[in-house]
Symmetry: none
Subunit: 210 residues, 4 copies
């Protein structure tokens, strides 16, 4: 009996995992149910059995992804030591997570460029949670007189957007570097350098009174 239950869970997990990769690689429309099923080694009808329809599966994938990243951040951040330490933790954790799970950036960017067309309600909740974390840090820093002239939404996109773009364009930048050596596309930068650079620059930016 326990076997049965665990199999069902295992199947569901396998589906989410493979769907995530494929949605990230090819986008929502270009990913077919057949493809996902085949990648899982599961019958196609199972996708619909467990997730009702393609949109439902996609929603499940996105919740999974966003919840995971949120949890990663609140776990890794030794919250509340200092706003600056928190900011550093936020940036580095987010960057490291995206680098390890590169489909995440792709999924998030795509969703943002759709204005959340595929999953309005749910997207809001999960993305807001993420934005909420940074907002809180910034507000606290402002309260302590460390940060000035804060526009949290813009800062959020500066951090998160930049990281996501650098992650998704990695192969593209590598290819560009091979074609033309003149342009510096940061094609060999590793994620720790990148996140450290971003942190340093954003910190400066927030600390200035202007």
């Amino acid at each position: 009996m326990a076997k049965q239950t665990r199999d069902a869970e295992a199947t569901k997990a396998k589906i989410i995992q493979n769907a995530m990769l494929l949605f990230a690689k090819n986008g929502y429309d270009a990913t077919t149910a057949d493809e996902i099923a085949q990648a899982c080694g599961v019958n196609k009808a199972m996708l619909f059995y467990y997730y009702k329809n393609k949109a439902g599966l996609y929603a499940a994938v996105m919740t999974h992804v966003l919840d995971a990243i949120h949890e990663e951040i609140i776990t890794k951040d030794k919250c509340c030591v200092s706003p600056i330490a928190d900011l550093e933790a936020f940036i580095k954790t987010y960057a490291a997570y995206c680098d390890n799970n590169p489909y995440v950036s792709s999924l998030i960017l795509r969703e943002l460029s759709d204005s959340g067309a595929h999953l309005p309600e749910m997207m809001f909740a999960s993305l807001r949670k993420l934005f909420g974390l940074l907002s809180e840090i910034l507000r606290e820093g402002e309260k302590q007189g460390l940060f000035h002239n804060i526009e949290p939404m813009i800062i959020h996109f500066m951090i998160v957007g930049t990281i996501n773009l650098l992650v998704t364009t990695k192969p593209m930048r590598k290819k560009a570097a091979e074609l033309e050596t003149e342009l510096n596309t940061c094609s060999d930068c590793d994620i720790d350098e990148i996140s450290h650079y971003i942190f340093t620059k954003v910190k400066l930016m927030l600390e200035m009174k202007q």
Copy 2:
């Protein structure tokens, strides 16, 4: 000179224009040839007559968009006054252009999150041109001792990515603001405030020696 019933240039332009809007709104896969043709008031076969296939039309749209933005920038920028003035012009022109033509941001972000899956060769050329403009400004600033510790690719995405994300998420942010007043999503910020804010912050960031 007389208004013609059969004007190839006009038809081609109509197609590009409508395709651009639809590709931006719905993405490549979710946009159908029927839809585009109907929006143009043109027979579907014309799309293929002029652009060979859907991918060809998409490529034409993207070249058009990226070339237009490039030209806008090099026209509006009174080039070479000073790196700081150039930076300001770059940011503000780019932001204003995207705000006036909101499909642009959507198209660019989507393409970047695909790593240029739809148009490898061409994308490179056009995006590189844009990146090249900023690169040049940054390099000059560094040479003049105004900017320090420059990583151009990261700076580029910080500017361009942030603007694009703010443009595409505008409706989403508006909706979020209606639902919940607690969070500040910059939903009423207008584009000039935004681009000025970004310019100010980026300038600071570049001028610091760290």
Copy 3:
């Protein structure tokens, strides 16, 4: 054993059967997937489900046809009594089979006049098998001193080509006879007369030393 609503083998067979008739009647290009599906009372997508694409279905049809005729001949021929008896059996069996399944002649002639454009590899194998049967008979006859001056390929086409042409042109010849009584188009000849005539004449031809 119970009659099933969903019987893959039955469906596949239905598709082959109807496709065979339609390809024979109208040729490859002029036969549409819609038409075939409708004739089968099956959804069009099933054709692609089972046979991948139109060419695949056509190939399946041809293999089916050629294998069937080959089997018919090796079954009906009491092989190896004497080359002459074998020749008679070959001619009469082939003729009777084509007469009973008139699409066969049409398919074969069409394919030959295309030089096997639609299915290079497969066509070779199956047609060669048929030609091999006659070749063997002729060679044996020659060895036994019964036949002389044999050019097997030419003899093969004389037999098989003539039969096929008489079968496919049957309606045409009937119509011609109605229009004009002067010309004798053998419009009332039945297949047994025809095959007997061919056998008699070919036998003479082979037995002469010239």
Copy 4:
């Protein structure tokens, strides 16, 4: 003025010539108006201007082909010397003509395997003329007591069908010979050997009383 007229004629001839080759190579349905126009270096609309529609062009091509072959035969045959000489001339002229204009065999075989679906009325007339020539020779031979037990339609297909099949399958037989040396596909036979062989064998066949 004469120039104009001659140009029109030249254009029409160019169209017929190229259409003939393409119809022969690819069949009626698989040949497109675009293709023909491009091959001629003529605007597509011209095809319809001169020949009303595709079927009309095809009909024109076929009449051209069949009339040409008919004329060739009645020209080359020193008619009425003796039925045997006439037969020889008929076979050899037909074979040589098809060998020089290989599209002819393809077109004729295809048309016959359709039972003249594309051009009922016209096909009859032209094919009948050809068949009429042979019929007359056979009848005369019978009257003179040279030939016996004649079934003209069958003899006709034995001659014409065999020649056509050998011509159209030439590339196929060559390829088969390369793959497998065991089978003798007459792949190196030249047309004069073939037509002489056919003539010899048919002559024997007709002279026997059986």
